[in-house]
């Protein structure tokens, strides 16, 4: 799970010299890793092939610049090509005589109805347009009620349900109601259909003909596998798609289907659904998705989540102490609490590039520390049953003290040992990051990324790859001292994390 491209490339390039042009053989080996990474990220094979063919000539013979490692160089090339292929985000089109019709299509269970509600809310709020929603789903039980409920929740009007009406007729009624009611936008939520179902595919084309939509969005699950190319191509063959909305982008999927679908349809990816709540809709950002597909984590998402949940003051204190190489049990307790608030260790780790954590091994170690809420409470109880002195210096904890703490916290000595061990492991890691310098520990490949990430986060900008610009490369040797602070910030403890909006 945590094997990532940067790790694998790192190990290939570790054996290589650090200067000069990349040879064909080196590039081939790297491209093999990239192929594998893309496939594991669910990019469809034909698209992977085409992508690799595009990258190969760019990589062969490209000069490895001073103070850039070959790994960085290749990742930079791949990353740029990926961003390029994912395409720029495009705004919704409203250039039609109102009501502007928007039609949502896709497979069963891809998230059309929820996305219809989200988009309607988005358009109402950011575009200040009056929206009418209509469900054309006569197929699934209670599909129409679902949209009606979303309408009630958002205060957006929905077309009254008339039982027994066919989807094409509902579409016509919706457009008519949109005209008469002075609506700017009419959103049509259609039933889910598989591209293998000819009757339903024909029905979709008929709806399009009747409603003449300005936007026809393919709503697709970002967890889709290899079949994404065929699904997208077959929908595009029957209606004129104007964009793609990817749902479930808040999951831990790598989202390669996005590339597949964008590649075969050529239409822009416009939105990402990032949660079940009605406001969890984001504009597509190719940079972030590229990072994710390459297994470099969604650091921006992490920082945003951190910004929502963290206790900035406490974080600042811990960061400051860590800079001095101190990491007490109290710090640990505070940090674990923080992490829990952000969706637990696995939630945090899922978004972090494993390169930042020095590779999969450490990530796995950290993941093993994950715990449920009750356990966390128990640990908090253990820590608070210790004396001030014990908390600052856990070495004091001998057998009798452990028994006392176990008794005081209603736990067992074993539990106490577990907490102490966890603290040791975490303190160890922090120390490594502080002393050896991030760069040493993680290898040249990822060092600058890790360092730069922290720097970027403070400004709230994207952790893209500007560090690879030779003029812009951070001095790796300087990273050591600041690294733990940056690392902590990455884990959700910055006081200057970008607030959304």
């Amino acid at each position: 799970m945590f094997d990532t491209l940067s790790e694998n490339l790192g190990s290939i390039f570790d054996r290589l010299t650090r200067r000069g042009a990349l040879s064909e053989a080196q590039v081939e080996e790297a491209l093999g890793e990239i192929r594998k990474a893309l496939l594991e990220a669910d990019v469809a094979l034909p698209v992977v092939r085409s992508f690799i063919d595009q990258v190969r000539p760019l990589a062969v013979g490209s000069n490895v610049l001073k103070s850039v490692t070959p790994g960085q160089q290749v990742i930079k090339i791949v990353n740029d090509a990926l961003i390029d292929m994912l395409g720029a985000p495009a705004p919704l089109k409203f250039d039609a005589v109102p009501p502007v019709v928007m039609m949502m299509v896709g497979l069963q269970g891809s998230g059309k109805t929820t996305s219809t509600g989200k988009l309607a809310k988005f358009i109402t709020e950011t575009e200040k347009r009056k929206v009418l929603m209509a469900s054309l789903d006569t197929q699934r039980p209670a599909a129409m009620q679902q949209l009606a409920v979303l309408g009630e929740q958002t205060g957006i009007q929905t077309l009254p349900i008339v039982d027994g009406q066919a989807p094409v007729d509902i579409a016509k009624r919706a457009v008519q109601a949109g005209k008469l009611g002075g609506f700017d936008v009419v959103m049509l939520d259609t039933a889910g259909r598989t591209n293998a179902d000819e009757a339903l595919m024909a029905e979709m084309a008929a709806i399009e003909k009747a409603a003449a939509p300005t936007e026809t969005l393919l709503v697709a699950d970002s967890l889709t596998g290899q079949e994404a190319v065929n699904i997208a191509a077959q929908f595009a063959a029957r209606v004129t798609l104007s964009g793609i909305l990817l749902t479930r982008a808040d999951g831990d999927g790598r989202g390669g289907a996005a590339l597949s679908m964008r590649y075969v349809t050529g239409v822009p990816i416009k939105f990402l659904g990032v949660g079940e709540a009605i406001d969890k809709l984001e504009l597509f950002d190719p940079q972030r998705l590229a990072n994710r597909i390459l297994g470099m984590g969604d650091v921006v998402g992490l920082v945003e989540r951190a910004a929502e949940t963290m206790d900035a003051e406490k974080a600042e204190k811990i960061a400051a102490r860590m800079k001095k190489g101190q990491f007490t049990l109290d710090d640990m307790a505070a940090q674990l609490k923080q992490m829990q608030a952000m969706g637990g260790m696995s939630g945090v780790l899922g978004m972090l590039p494993s390169s930042l954590l020095g590779g999969g091994k450490m990530k796995k170690q950290l993941a093993a520390l994950d715990m449920d809420e009750r356990e966390l409470l128990r640990q908090a109880a253990i820590v608070s049953s210790m004396t001030r002195g014990e908390r600052d210096n856990p070495k004091l904890m001998n057998a009798s003290r452990k028994r006392r703490v176990a008794g005081g916290s209603g736990t067992s000595v074993q539990d106490v040992n577990k907490v102490l061990k966890m603290h040791r492991q975490m303190a160890d890691m922090m120390k490594k990051m502080g002393k050896g310098g991030l760069a040493n520990m993680m290898g040249g490949l990822t060092g600058s990324m890790g360092g730069n990430m922290g720097a970027n986060m403070e400004g709230g900008s994207m952790p893209q790859m500007p560090s690879l610009d030779p003029n812009n490369l951070p001095d790796l040797s300087k990273l050591g001292g600041d690294a733990p602070a940056d690392f902590l910030k990455g884990l959700g403890l910055p006081n200057s994390g970008p607030k959304k909006k």
């Binding site: 094979l45 039980p141 009620q145 949209l147 290899q226 079949e227 831990d252 969706g343």
Partner: protein, 307 residues
């Protein structure tokens, strides 16, 4: 349309591409390293994943009679390799006489949990069992209306709570009711959740804990519903639900689409979870018993074996 032909038309449609790419690459010639490579690619395109595709291809490569295999024989051999990985997990679904036999259904959003409950309800009903449904998706809009709709179709009773009600509390209430009414099968529908959301996964664990308060043996089955369209994330789903919902078996839906559901193979290899049914459509009858051999053969574009 018979169930088999329905299944096959779904599966063979889905395996057309794989079948085609196989016949394309065979063209009568003897197998070379190159054609084996293409074979591996075809498996990758069926979502088996890079690692599993490599294992299956390597197994084929190791066969001594490789050079003698013609197109049909190679397909059969390939199906055989896949079936061998799936056979250990091909399992018969059974309902114990314990009342109520509690079945929990979980999975990511839109996987097909509620629809599958509707299908199972009809099946159990037809077997003469009394069935009750618990609408524990109190989150998604109109989720309980949807389940009630299925309940009405199958003429079985549903227990629903208010929107936003505590799912575990509702499950408790439903189980209490099912016990009092001596119901044979209680199916608990849960809200869709992404396995990366720890809080929602913990809620599943809570539903189980709460059910155990009334019946220490419950749930008797915890089914994970997987969508055949899902790619490599299906493996992460299976792992996470196994942890939080103590999954005892799998059902894969949407095999009537063009996706091949090859993700089941690495899951079978890794987790050895029983696979019970496949969903092949939106209607109540569109549920098929999972057959390792049938699945594997359909995956490579072969007919059902005679006899």
């Amino acid at each position: 349309m018979s169930l088999w032909s329905r299944l096959k038309s779904g599966l063979s449609r889905s395996s057309e591409a794989l079948g085609n790419s196989l016949s394309g690459l065979m063209g009568g010639k003897k197998l070379s390293a190159e054609t084996l490579g293409e074979l591996e690619d075809a498996l990758i395109m069926a979502d088996l994943g890079v690692a599993t595709a490599a294992i299956i291809t390597d197994n084929l490569r190791a066969r001594r009679d490789l050079a003698e295999l013609d197109d049909g024989a190679l397909r059969a051999a390939l199906a055989g390799e896949i079936a061998a990985l799936l056979e250990p997990v091909e399992s018969t679904f059974s309902v114990s006489s314990h009342q109520p036999h509690v079945i929990l259904l979980a999975g990511v959003n839109g996987a097909g949990k509620t629809t599958t409950i509707g299908k199972l309800a009809k099946k159990f009903q037809a077997e003469g069992k009394t069935v009750m449904l618990a609408a524990c998706d109190t989150f998604r809009a109109a989720a309980s209306e949807q389940l009630q709709g299925w309940g009405a179709r199958a003429k079985v009773r549903g227990i629903a709570g208010a929107a936003g009600a505590d799912a575990a509390g509702l499950a408790f209430q439903a189980l209490e009711q099912a016990q009092a009414d001596k119901i044979d099968v209680l199916m608990i529908d849960t809200a869709g959740r992404l396995q990366s959301n720890d809080n929602l996964m913990a809620e599943l664990s809570k539903i189980i804990r709460v059910a155990k308060k009334l019946d220490a043996t419950a749930p008797h089955e915890s089914l994970l519903i997987l969508d055949a369209t899902t790619g490599q994330n299906a493996i992460a789903q299976a792992e996470a639900f196994l942890g939080a919902a103590q999954t005892t078996g799998l059902i894969m839906t949407k095999l009537d689409g063009t996706a091949r559901g090859g993700g089941l193979v690495p899951i079978a290899q890794k987790l050895a979870l029983p696979i019970y049914f496949i969903g092949v459509g939106e209607q109540a009858d569109d549920l098929q018993v999972f057959s390792a051999n049938g699945f594997a053969r359909a995956l490579v574009g072969l007919e059902e074996e005679a006899g």
